[in-house]
Symmetry: C7
Subunit: 94 residues, 7 copies
């Protein structure tokens, strides 16, 4: 089985374990992004998403930094993936 | 009786039982998506939705991953369905 | 007396009693939709609503599923109605 | 003295006394509309409002249902009025 | 010294003392407008504001009703003024 | 060293000390603007900002009233500046 | 290894240590920007971002002031970087 993302979604496989979060009170409205390194597993077709043309800039195999809070964790055949929108990918690591 | 979704709505039938949620305090403003596998039962016609042209990319019978928090549970003839917008479907499982 | 809805509004008459809500703390920002079955009593003319062209897709007599939280309850001549925007109607039941 | 509404504003005169609100905790993000019957006293010219063309659909003398939370109460010469945007008027009562 | 408002801003001089606010807990997301009568002291040039063409509809000397929560109080040469956007002016009193 | 603002940003130098804030509970969603007088030190080039054409209307040396909550305080060579977007400037004082 | 930012993202290297934050209660919805000086390390290609054309105005080596709350901290090869959108850069320091 494989995941075929829709629109501007990208399927990622996390490369590093999550760091321990420092305990504290999270307040709504403040950006709280824990950066993550991941490998791109599958890339959606792009096209018109929410009325706007989106061109996919990442490719399968890219190692990327993404904002964790935007992603959705998915478990398939015992493997864990993260599905994000391309706009949640901040940079490619080369 | 059957459900005929409007606009960019999609009728889903859940494939797996919900996982137990880890107890914790949910704070507003943070994305809290519990991924779900489901089968597509019916697909809306698409067209102009909220002023934007939407083309339907999923088809009846597709097995999909969706974001639970966007869906609405509906009970019809003793069967439970979930109605989501297509943009809440993250990927097709093949 | 009768209700003539404006714009993309639809007048509904509820078909089923509301289910008892499970007690719990409602947190802002999370979609909290209790699906409802209703009959369409009157349909607005559509047209340009909030700067966007809206075409009405439901008709008087349709049995529909809608999201309760978007509706406004109205009492007229002892009868209770719900006025919703068409976009709050999820599906037609056939 | 009379009120001349600007843009898509409509001046209303309430027809019924407000119902007693059931005590309870109001949580942000949930629509909390108490429907109201009122008579239309004055109608703004419409035109471009917030960058969108608005055509006025109600006329002086119309009896209408509106969403209370969007209105602003105004006292003039001992009379109480409510000023709403036309989009807060749900239906005309005929 | 005089105030020359920018864009769609309007400088007002309040005509009536503020009414005593009834004590109560203010909850976010609910419109809480205390209507105010004021005289128009200066009117901005209008033009393109936030990407939208705005035409000024009020003139110096007009007596207007405005929504207090949108205004900013300014003290100049011992006089108090309120600067609002034209869209916060609800009606002209004639 | 000098500050060269980007886009529709404006660098201000405050003219007056902040007034003592009356203690009270600040609730989210309510506009809480403390007006401020300042001198314009530097003006960004304007142009397309967030997809909208912005024309700069203020000039170096102008004395302006601005909304404090939108500004960012910056310390450079021992001097304190405030950087705001032009839309946060309410009026020019002449 | 190096970071190649996507779209309108910019990779920064902080120049100064964060100032001690004055203790106090942070309330949601209020802008809370702690200005930061940083050097530009890498600049994304710009282009169409979220449906809007973005032209990059900063260059590698620029010393800039940015809003901290919009940035995401990234650790690569023991070095710490901050990735921001160009719109979070307030001014260039010359």
């Amino acid at each position: 089985m494989k995941l075929v993302p829709l629109g501007d979604r990208v399927v990622l496989k996390q490369l590093e374990a999550e760091e321990t979060t420092k305990s504290g009170i999270v307040l709504p409205g403040q950006a709280q992004e824990k950066p993550q390194q991941a490998e791109v597993i599958a890339v959606g077709p792009g096209g018109v998403v929410d009325g706007k043309e989106v061109k996919m800039e990442v490719a399968t195999g890219n190692k990327v930094i993404y904002s964790k809070y935007a992603g959705t964790e998915v478990k398939l055949d015992g493997e864990e993936y993260i599905i994000v929108k391309q706009s949640d990918i901040l940079a490619i690591v080369e």
